[in-house]
């Protein structure tokens, strides 16, 4: 019997629980030489802003043990260019495209969400709240539960699309998750990259021009698993796990904890066919464990019991 991989993340229906993570999958059109993008559950597009954004000076990346740091600086072509140049191609591809977007002020988030609202190929929005709020001295939106509430509720009012909020691992994720839920988020994504730093001892300088970079890849996977654990028991809306997934069992960890889908980012860089491998591994796992549908394993592990001290 064919194994059923379909899941739903609230109102969003996915043919399988694997989404490509934002910033790791370009504008969804770069994978044709590796695999058919319509085979994945969804694609989170590169973070978009109202106007095009130049990005940071190089060096922008640095490899770390089992991971990497990046400070791309959210370089993107801007929503107008995206709608004109990329969206027409995406409309022809049968998968769920999620528009990741950001701003540096509440009004910029709202404006960006509005601009994306009428595009038919965009089935959901994903708010990146790991950005500094320039109206409030540069503190990240995502670390302050009050700011999270403010920016999410303002965006909520202006979009008809399902709204995912991508949580930052900085700050108290249970609090920020609750704020995002209360402000009307339809789903949460945990987690974005983890702030990190590396120093070149020979040149006595930072490895990355921006000094701070976001850590991603297998190195952060156990942290992401813990954060998904924290969030699933805190809010009643669907959770999407993200962080260091490179094989089927990594994604399954998130699902067993109750996440309804998961994202694959950095693994695409060292295995452009990772999504196909992972989807096959999901099927093999379910077969081996005697399940017919992936929904049967979602939330198999109880998360409500209290943690003990380490």
């Amino acid at each position: 019997m064919e194994i059923d991989l379909k899941v739903d993340v609230g109102k969003i229906e996915l043919k399988n629980p694997l989404l490509l993570a934002s910033g790791c999958a370009g504008y969804g059109l770069e994978f044709d030489d590796f695999f058919d993008v319509s085979k994945v559950g969804g694609v989170c597009l590169k973070g978009l802003s109202i106007n095009e954004s130049k990005g940071n000076n190089p060096p922008r990346i640095w490899e770390t043990p089992s991971g990497m740091m990046n400070a791309i600086g959210l370089q993107n072509i801007g929503i107008k260019n995206f709608l004109k140049e990329k969206a027409p191609h995406l409309r022809k591809i049968d998968t769920v495209f999620v528009a990741n977007f950001y701003g540096h002020k509440v009004e910029e988030y709202v404006e960006a969400a509005k601009m994306l609202d009428d595009e038919e190929c965009i089935k959901a929005l994903e708010m990146n709240i790991s950005c500094p709020n320039i109206s409030a001295g540069g503190i990240q939106f995502g670390v302050d539960p009050l700011l999270v509430h403010k920016v999410v509720s303002e965006v909520r009012k202006e979009t008809k699309k399902p709204l995912c909020v991508k949580l930052t691992p900085s700050g108290n994720i249970k609090e920020t998750a609750k704020s995002a839920f209360e402000a009307g988020a339809d789903a949460l994504v945990a987690i974005n990259t983890i702030p990190a730093m590396a120093i070149d001892t020979e040149k006595m300088d930072f490895r990355i021009f921006n000094k701070v970079g976001g850590l991603s890849g297998p190195a952060i996977h156990p942290i992401a698993v813990k954060m998904v654990f924290d969030v699933v028991s805190e809010v009643p809306i669907p959770i999407i796990g993200c962080g260091g997934v490179e094989k089927g069992s990594d994604g399954i960890e998130f699902l067993l904890l109750g996440a309804r889908a998961f994202q694959v980012g950095t693994a695409l860089f060292y295995n452009p066919k990772a999504p196909l491998d992972i989807i096959n591994e999901l099927k093999e796992y379910l077969k081996r464990k005697g399940f017919n549908s992936i929904k049967e394993i979602i939330g198999k592990i109880k998360t409500k019991e209290k943690e003990k001290c380490l």
């Binding site: 910033g23 790791c24 130049k54 695409l268």
Partner: protein, 259 residues
Amino acid sequence: MKYIDFEVLDAKKQGDFCEVVLKGDFEPSLPAQFYMLKGDWGNHPLLPRPISILDECYKKKEIKFLVKNLGEGSKKLINLRKGDFVKGTGPLGNHFPFENLKKSDKIILIGGGVGVPPLYYLLKFLKEKGIEAIFLEGAKTKGELLLCEEIKKLTDDFFVATEDGTFGEKGLVTKIAEQFQKTADIVFSCGPIGMLKAVSEMFEKEKAKCYISLEERMACGYGVCLGCAVEIKGKEGKSSFQRVCAEGPVFDSRVVIWK
């Protein structure tokens, strides 16, 4: 481009360098294109490394790379052995624009270090078109000179400079390039950033077109991560970041904004 399972047919290691021959089902490439290569060593290091194509035989499905040990990733690559497996994504990037060259053009190829392999590959393409080129190679010392015998077979105009004077002219390769500064029509260069900058400055003063192949740290190599940015001059004094792996690695030296 394709994501390919390669098998190591041969690996000739000499000191810090290794010439690796891989067999696999690849697509034909052009000079300056490269592959992202990673052996089956798991997550240490995690990311593949960009390595230029040195040569290939499409019919035999054999492709050759020349790797220098510079750190963790390249060390793993130079220690590959016959029978090992390597994953490679490629061919990636643009190429040296050689299609419209004429036999009458004065063409100068200037290489240093691991910038020599893609220029050798270019020289082969030129030779096949019956176009002559002058090849200049620089290195710190004689032992670090690459592909000299191979280059000599393809051109009589081969000049070498070593910084310590152990072979050829003593000094930097730019010293031997000076004699062609006024007469060159087109220059192709690849090597350390300092050399590329000096070559660009020298030839930009004159009529020559100057194409340089840049290096930048890469994560994906196929255009999705935006990690490999280089700043490029645009219209009206505006600049933008382009991807060395996609819009490059070859750029017209006159549009590059140096770090």
